[in-house]
């Protein structure tokens, strides 16, 4: 029974709610200025999927970089 009420994946409404809240708080002008003083530039994703896709692309690009490196041994432990 308990298995049925435990979600199988983080629900999309929860992901969307968090995305909306994060974008709203970070894009306030005073928040952006405060972070800019610490050299952090606010760059929020357009959607959760956009960010997920970016992370997958970058993960694949790093994998490809390691694969084609002439001397991979010295790059990792």
């Amino acid at each position: 029974m308990a298995r049925h009420v435990r979600p199988a994946a983080t629900p999309k409404p929860v992901i969307d709610r968090l995305h909306g809240a994060v974008v709203a708080v970070l894009t306030r002008p005073e928040q952006k200025e405060g972070l800019a003083k610490q050299m952090m530039s606010v760059e929020v994703s357009g959607s959760p999927q956009e960010f997920t896709d970016l992370v997958r692309q970058e993960t694949a690009a790093w994998g490809a970089f390691f694969a084609r490196s002439a001397n991979t041994d010295r790059l990792a432990r």
């Binding site: 979600p7 983080t10 992901i15 994060v22 994703s45 993960t59 010295r74 990792a76 432990r77």
Partner: protein, 261 residues
């Protein structure tokens, strides 16, 4: 008529009431490092602001260890209900999957779902003030003249300041000698000022004061656009090396699916 309307209303709201609106209890945000670094700083700011705007406590939990892999695994294996989140960065969430493939029990890109990128921290190619080259072309020429003689700093084997320079060396066909500083930028920067190492890819947050004081100099900006703080420093792309250098970001993630522990 009135009663049936009331009944209709009650039935209509029932499904919504059956499930608590999110968030109905405190949310923890795992951070893959100890307190004080950029990832921890942005996680704490976001936690504070979400606590204010969503009316529930968002609590940062530092889980350092194994280059961030402990926190990645804890996040991926947590119940996927929105009450365990992770703030990671390009190293933990895009690089570790490859360099720690044999140690990681999960695949971050498969087992975590993105919520949002939060911030980017611009990086630059920086050099000791006493190092003669002032541009990437001059750096490449100097490295070609004396292969292996120029030292570059990083914050460890497999860190992106290390990998970025390896990428540049590969693209330019030159050889520099890697000097990793385990104490991080706080140790590497004084070494560069002292001239023990000549060049590095580091973030602007730690470099700007030293560039302003003239103890270090910027050879190139890593972002696609020049930095407002360094308008006279051309980008790597402008200097013939587009696509080199990590676009360093921090982002928020949630577990994708329920996993067996």
């Amino acid at each position: 008529m009135r009663i049936s309307a009331l009944l209709f209303c009650m039935l209509a709201v029932a499904p919504a009431m059956a499930q608590d609106p999110y968030p109905s209890k405190p949310v923890r945000i795992l951070v893959p490092y100890g307190p004080g670094g950029a990832t921890d700083i942005i996680a704490r700011i976001v936690a504070q602001r979400l606590t204010e705007s969503l009316g529930q406590t968002f609590l940062v939990e530092n889980r350092p260890g194994a280059n961030g892999n402990l926190a990645l695994e804890a996040a991926a294996k947590a119940p996927p209900d929105g009450y365990t989140l992770l703030v990671g960065n390009v190293s933990t969430n895009a690089i570790n999957e490859t360099i720690f493939a044999h140690q990681l029990q999960i695949k971050p890109s498969r087992d975590l779902t993105g919520i949002a990128k939060l911030v980017e921290i611009p990086h630059i190619v920086v050099a000791s003030a006493s190092f003669p080259p002032n541009t990437i072309a001059e750096l490449v020429a100097a490295a070609k003249k004396e292969p292996g003689k120029i030292n570059f700093a990083s914050v460890g084997l497999g860190s992106y300041p290390h990998l970025d320079m390896e990428q540049l060396m590969l693209a330019a066909g030159v050889e520099l000698t890697h000097v990793p500083y385990k104490g991080g930028a706080g140790q590497a920067i004084p070494a560069m000022i002292a001239g023990e190492v000549q060049v590095a890819f580091f973030n602007m947050a730690s470099l700007l004061p030293h560039i302003k004081s003239g103890r270090l100099k910027a050879l190139a900006a890593v972002p696609a656009q020049r930095l407002p703080e360094l308008p006279n420093v051309p980008t790597l792309a402008e200097q013939g090396f587009p696509g080199i250098g990590t676009n360093a970001w921090q982002g928020m993630f949630a577990p994708r699916r329920r996993r067996n522990r």
